[in-house]
Point group: C2
Chain length 240, copies 2
């Protein structure tokens, strides 16, 4: 058993949006960065896995954002792994600023064989994982399982170099940018708390064309992102 | 007179591209981040200027990239201001990794009144600037003055939330992403050194439509990015 690890950052100018507060996408980027760094320091980062052609892939994410820290504010991010099974592991996040808890998160990861693109049995990492587990519940409910929507608005765009990451597929943060890019600016500006649930279903590669479908129901925005007719990612964004 | 300041970073997972090396855009992001942090620490950052409704705007940039550091590699970035006049100031960069100098840069900045969108006389900051000046030449030649091109390829896309920064205009790094997104992936993959010159002419705002025009002449790629018929940015990218 391990204890919660905490990482400290300062909100940088490139993290803030027009309101001089960290964008939701940059807060999620900090969480995912902490996930990478913590796994790396504990011996099960992508760098350790790449020797075996394995990599980490985010399968589901839920994030609640209460307030967005300002430029040059210090943030502490607590992170801990508290569950794993054959197919996925759960990593949690709690981001704190001078104004209290800014955001909390629940992420589910699976291990992918980069050559076969198949999920790898997580029991391979059982020993290292058991040492890393923390006896602390998740701060929020698990990411919702999202069903396909009937979008009222759709548009398409190609996958480009800046969309792809070390896994050679479209990076998680690009989907999150796409989601917030398709919500009215006023909702982002007047944020009084929001919850994002996102399911990653399949990968998009360089050269694919993304189709973004969306649907708004009062304060809830739903998205399906697909490529060549295959659903890649579904998301649900609720503004309080 | 001051001395060269050095900032240390570690290349993060979100900085690397499919080759597991820091992308050109993330290296430039580190340089611009250093510019913001160094100005902030020396008392002339955007935060100090915002009290007077002024902000820093990048007008020209030249960057030479010799090699792209790998994920988790440490980098040191030296930075110094060595010139300023009524209209602009010059800030230089030298990025070093374990393999030697990775990249060098020359940036020209002007001060903008956010209300009138007019350039402000830099002599307003004469005292603070004179204390910050360093007696050290720029590591590379000044950014070229780029003329309008006759593009052979063009496409358009809207300005979205994730494109805009605290100045409420399209962020510099977005233009740099656009440039690299429109160059063949093989050239980025086989990089043996490159030089990017970029001129920022006008601002694009939320709701504008960007038109990206490009032209390739052997190992040189030229770009004009415009909105509503007005040229915003021109760039020249040369692969060695």
């Amino acid at each position: 058993m391990a204890t919660i690890s905490t990482y400290n950052y300062t909100i940088q100018p490139q993290d803030v949006d027009f309101s001089l507060r960290a964008s939701a996408s940059s807060l999620i980027s900090y969480m995912l960065n902490v996930a990478g760094t913590d796994a790396h320091l504990k011996g099960f980062g992508v760098d350790a896995l790449q020797g075996q052609s394995f990599t980490w892939v985010l399968s589901r994410l839920a994030v609640e954002i209460y307030h967005q820290p300002k430029q040059y504010e210090d943030i502490d991010i607590d992170t801990w792994v508290n569950d794993f099974n054959r197919l996925s592991s759960t990593r949690n996040f709690r981001m704190r600023s001078v104004d209290g808890v800014a955001a909390i998160g629940f992420s589910q990861w699976c291990m992918l064989n980069m050559e076969t693109r198949q999920v790898v049995d997580m029991n391979l990492l059982k020993d290292v994982y058991e040492r890393a587990m923390v006896d602390e519940p998740s701060p929020i409910s698990a990411p919702a399982r999202l069903r396909e929507i009937e979008p009222t608005t759709t548009y398409s765009r190609p996958v480009r170099y800046s969309d792809i990451d070390f896994n050679r597929h479209v990076n998680t943060l690009r989907y999150i940018d796409i989601i917030f890019d398709n919500v009215p600016l006023e909702l982002i500006e007047k944020n009084n708390g929001m919850r994002l649930d996102i399911n990653f279903i399949a990968e998009a590669r360089y050269g694919d064309t993304l189709t973004i479908g969306s649907l708004a129901e009062q304060n809830v925005w739903k998205f399906d992102i697909s490529a060549e007719g295959k659903r890649l990612c579904s998301a649900r964004l609720e503004f309080k």
